[in-house]
Symmetry: C2
Subunit: 227 residues, 2 copies
DNA sequence: TTACACACTTGATCCAAATCAAGTTTACTT
DNA sequence: AAGTAAACTTGATTTGGATCAAGTGTGTAA
C-alpha cells in the first residue's frame, strides 16, 4: 500500500468535529494545527505525560491503552481517521493515564490547549461538533461497560466480530484489524479463549476461518444472539 | 429528614454546567426549565422512550440502569444533585437504552432539545461547562471499563468502598448508600460474593462491619492495593 | 408484640474461562 | 529457500466466582 500524503487543509476537512465550520474558520484552524507523521510502532503519547493538546488522527490507525492501577493494561480505543483523543486536556491540565501507539504509518494533527481555547472563543459552534462526538463516545463506553459485566466472553466476541465486519461487504473474507492477542486484551480475555470460541462459531456454521487472521461472517444474526 | 423545597432559580444555580453563566443568562435558562419532583421509586425515564430532553438532578438521588441485549441490566450511574443525563438527546433524537429511578424524593430540572439549542446559540459558553462535564464522565467510564476487565471482584469492591468512604470522615462508621444487591449489580457480581469479600476484608483487618449496611474503613491503603 | 417480607449470610456444588504446557503455523529475515 | 521468532492452536488442569439452597437477621405494619 502506498502512503498517501495529505495537505493540512485536506487533513482538517476529514475531521468530523470541524465539519460545521466555514471556509474562513477552517483557515483559522489550519493556522494552529501541528502535523506529524508517526511510523508504525511509534508512540503518539505516553501515560504520565502532561496532556496539553488534542490529538486527531488524520490518516492511519492507532491503539490507545489505558493502564490499570495493578499494572495491567486495557485496549480502550482503536482510533481511525477522524477520531481524536486528549479532549480532557483542552480544559484542564491533566496527566494522561493512557498511552497511544501507531499501528500503521499515521498522520496526526494536534492542537495546543491555549490555541484551542482562543479558537473556541472565536468559533463557538465548534463546541457543537465536539459535544456530538463526546456524546457518541459516552454511548460507546456505556455499552462497553455494560456488555463486559452482563455478557459472556462469547457474546462480547460475537458483538466485536459483527461490528468489525460491518465495514466490509457481507459474507466475504476479511482480515481482522487486530491480532488475537490484542482482541483478547480488548475484550478482557485471553488469546486461547478467542481461538476456542472462533472454533465453536465455525462449528456452529456462523463464520468461516481463512488464512492468517481472515474470517468471513456467515450468519451475523445468530452471532448477535449470543449471550 | 425534612424535604427541602427549592425555587427554580436556586435549583439552576446548583448545577455545575450553568456555573459560568451571568445572572441575565441564568434568567433565560430559568424560563425554559421544567421542574418536577419524583417520589421515591418513581421512574424518571424509561428504556425505549424517545429521548428529547436533558434531565438534571436538582436535589435527591437517582439510579440509572442500562439494559443489555440479553435482558440483563447494569447499574451505570448513581446520579447526585447537580448530575445530569440525556445529553445525547440534545443533538439528535435517540431512543434511550437506559432507565432511571428516584432513590429518594428527587427534584428534577429538564430542558427540551429545541429550547436547549436556542439557548446554546445565545449563550455559547454554556457549551464549555457541558464539555467539561462530558470529559469527566468519559474519564470515569474509561476507568470503569478498564477496571472491569483488568481487576478481580475483590479489587473492584475495594475501589468502590474507598471511593464511597471518601465522602465520610476517615476511620468512622458510615452507611453504604446502596443495598448489597445493588452494589453487586453495579460491580457486575452477586450479593453472595459481596458478602464473602467483605468478610475477607474484615478478617484481614482492613475494615469493620457494623449494623445494617454500616462499615468503617480501617486501612484504605491496603484496600486500594487489592487486585 | 407478633407476623411477614426482605435483605443478608453461609455452605455446597458447579461451571466458564484462566492458566500452564506443548505443539504447530505463519510470516519475516537473510 | 532455510532458519527463526512470533503468533496461534490444542489439550490438561485449576480456579474464581456464579448458582442453588437453606438458614438468620432486620425493619415495618397491624
Amino acid at each position: 500500500m502506498r502512503e498517501q500524503k495529505l495537505g493540512t487543509h485536506d487533513c482538517i476537512q476529514l475531521v468530523p468535529i470541524f465539519k460545521q465550520l466555514t471556509t474562513v474558520e477552517l483557515q483559522q484552524v489550519s493556522a494552529i494545527v501541528h502535523e506529524h507523521v508517526y511510523e508504525k510502532g511509534e508512540t503518539l503519547f505516553n501515560a504520565g505525560d502532561e496532556a496539553n493538546q488534542l490529538t486527531i488522527i488524520a490518516a492511519g490507525q492507532a491503539k490507545v491503552y489505558q493502564l490499570a492501577a495493578n499494572g495491567r493494561e486495557q485496549l480502550l480505543y482503536l482510533l481511525q481517521s477522524g477520531d481524536f483523543d486528549g479532549e480532557a486536556a483542552l480544559f484542564n491540565p491533566v496527566t494522561r493515564t493512557s498511552y497511544a501507539e501507531a499501528l500503521v504509518p499515521t498522520q496526526v494533527c494536534s492542537i495546543q490547549r491555549s490555541d484551542f481555547q482562543t479558537l473556541l472563543a472565536r468559533a463557538p459552534q465548534l463546541a457543537l461538533g465536539i459535544l456530538n462526538e463526546f456524546g457518541k463516545r459516552i454511548s460507546q463506553l456505556e455499552g462497553k461497560a455494560t456488555s463486559v459485566t452482563t455478557s459472556s466472553i462469547g457474546g462480547r466476541l460475537a458483538d466485536y466480530l459483527v461490528e468489525t465486519a460491518a465495514s466490509f461487504p457481507a459474507q466475504t473474507m476479511f482480515t481482522l484489524p487486530l491480532q488475537k492477542k490484542e482482541i483478547a486484551v480488548y475484550l478482557g480475555t485471553t488469546p486461547e479463549t478467542i481461538s476456542r470460541k472462533l472454533n465453536e462459531f465455525q462449528t456452529a456454521g456462523w463464520l468461516k476461518k481463512g488464512h492468517g487472521n481472515q474470517i468471513a461472517i456467515l450468519d451475523a444474526d445468530q452471532l448477535a444472539l449470543q449471550d
